[in-house]
């Protein structure tokens, strides 16, 4: 087990470097530069800029320097936000995205698991059909439609909730609901399918035969196996949660990391792009590892070499 974790932790480093290299390559292959978004510069000034940022050196030296920086986890200064280091920018803006993301996933877990379990236990009941239809709706309505419609009703119609920006807990309600809708739907469907399969399995019959109460059978034996699909969904979900937060941050004007990332890419702010890509890749890979480890606790039949 320990060996497995160590192996996976070690593999994160080359993987993150691979992702960064890919991103760096893409930025470099594309024509244009971070200063070319502004007006045409005289050649002398352009040469000076190139010299200042080391762009006049051969590509392998630039690449080596960049890799060195990343290995030291120091991404340098942003090109667009003068005088601010990439690390500072990430530290300042990431908490917004993380708060919305975590709360949204928690909400999705609570509602999704509950709906999925009840739907599976009362298969073909009204609740089953109703919640599964609702889940399908959640899967199909893009979050950039859900968000504005919520704003239209609760802020501009009823004046209950603030429409945008960052403030107290009231400001969090709509962004979190918007972001969690699709995950709620996925989790409800996965839980229902997983529970239906598990409740038919032999070990559940054994548990019932031993005379355990229905609640124990359900919560101690059924749930553990039934939520494995949900756990494996968590890995890809975290990656797409990132994409979701970008939209939610745009709709609700929240100063999170997603917005900064999109801006940095449009500005060709290379150190900032690479810094955010490296940071998020490592984060996602660590979460994926955590997901893989938790399988072992949920299903004792899964073993690691």
């Amino acid at each position: 087990m320990l060996k497995f974790i160590l192996k996976r932790l070690l593999i994160i480093v080359p993987m993150a470097l691979l992702v960064v290299t890919l991103t760096w390559g893409l930025i470099r292959i594309a024509p244009g530069n971070f200063y070319s978004t502004e007006r045409q510069l005289p050649p002398a000034i352009e040469a000076n800029i190139k010299k200042k940022y080391g762009l006049d050196q051969p590509w392998y030296i630039q690449y080596g320097k960049m890799m060195g920086n990343i290995l030291r986890l120091d991404f340098g200064d942003s090109l667009k936000y003068q005088g601010q280091s990439v690390n500072e920018i990430i530290k300042r803006h990431f908490p917004y995205s993380a708060t919305i993301g975590i709360l949204a996933y928690l909400l999705a877990l609570i509602v999704g698991l509950f709906a999925g379990i009840v739907a599976a236990l009362k298969q073909n009941s009204f609740f089953d059909y109703f919640s599964m239809a609702l889940a399908m709706l959640g899967l199909s309505v893009p979050n950039f439609v859900i968000g504005p419609i919520l704003v239209l009703f609760f802020s501009l119609g009823l004046y209950w909730l603030p429409p945008a920006r960052w403030g107290g807990p009231l400001y969090l309600i709509m962004p979190v609901i918007t972001l969690s809708a699709i995950y709620m739907a996925y989790i409800a469907r996965l839980t229902r399918a997983g529970m239906l399969e598990v409740m038919r399995s032999d070990y559940i019959r054994t548990a019932r035969a031993k005379g355990l109460s229905e609640t124990t059978v359900l919560l101690k034996h059924g749930l553990r196996g039934g939520i494995i699909p949900v756990v494996s969904f968590t890995g890809p979900a975290l990656a797409s949660l990132l994409a979701g937060t970008v939209v939610v941050e745009k709709v609700f004007a929240i100063p999170g990391l997603g917005n900064i990332f999109i801006q940095s890419v449009l500005n060709r702010d290379e150190p900032l792009i690479l810094g955010i890509v490296a940071f998020l890749s490592i984060l996602i890979m660590i979460f994926n590892l955590a997901v893989d480890i938790s399988y072992g606790f949920l299903d004792p039949r899964i073993r690691y070499e």
């Binding site: 993987m15 691979l18 992702v19 890919l22 991103t23 893409l26 930025i27 292959i29 594309a30 024509p31 244009g32 399908m136 709706l137 899967l139 199909s140 309505v141 893009p142 950039f144 439609v145 504005p148 419609i149 704003v151 239209l152 501009l156 239906l196 990656a239 797409s240 990132l242 994409a243 970008v246 939209v247 745009k250 709709v251 990332f261 999109i262 890419v265 449009l266 060709r268 792009i273 955010i276 890509v277 998020l280 890749s281 996602i284 890979m285 994926n288």
Partner: protein
Amino acid sequence: MNEETKSTGNQPETVMTGTSLWKDAWKRLLKNKLSVFGLVVMSIITFAVVFGPMIIKATTGLTPDYIPADGNLIQSFPPSWQHWMGTDEAGRDLLSRVLQGGRISLMVGIISTFVSLIVGVSYGAIAGYMGGRIDNVMMRIVDIIYAIPYILIVIVLLSVFGGQNTPDWIESLAGIFGGGAGRSQIFLLFFSLGLVSWLTMARVVRGQILSLKNQEFVLAARATGVSTPKIIFKHLVPNALGPVIVYATLTIPSVMLTEAFLSFLGIGVQAPFASWGSLAADGIKNIAIFPWQLIFPGVTMALTLFSLNFLGDGLRDALDPQTRKF
């Protein structure tokens, strides 16, 4: 091609049940009311998207980018008899714009799924049939790509190559589809969305091939001297078609959702083209005053995804032997 798959693909099934797998599945699909609903809605939407702009042009003379000459008409009007979905700020008919955008959205969804189909099916089939070390290496590569947060790379790819920064070689590749401003961006979308969605397909196909490759009909084919590529693509792949179709149907909505999300952020489909995502992005700016500008493209898109998801679900129930047990 379809006739052929039917005859080569389902010999064992046909012998045992006397009715073909596809006919059986079709019957089961028609019994599922929600899937029939999805099928009908998708047919209507496809028809409207393909022929709608032409019909509107023929009856009212409006095109997606027709800006009225009368200055008083250059503003956003709510839905009316003349403009069923209202107009946008430039006075353009929203219905024709939504239908035009639907063409792009559906096209991106279908072509990217097609790319993922070709790459994923070949990759998975080869890995599954070859087995051993080749299989190991090929699937390990898939595992590694899986761990990459592709959305970050897609965003970088689309925005650094987009707009005026498109290199000539992409421009010339996009020329296959007619070329011109904005086309290379759509080409990039096909490419990058297809690139990231073949992974699961490869896994699904590999699993199917693994369970098929030791059956007698493969042995018979090998004994009669059929070449390996022929065994893979003429004997094995047609037999794995059920799950492939199911998964492809479910890939279309997810790709469309990603496209909409990218266009919403302003890095997907770009002017002069529009898609449902970019129309919604335009609409959100004026949500308080002109809500129809967001609601119509958004709801049309939601309805399409809704139907595609129902259709995919129904197909899975009808074709997937795993769920057929229940």
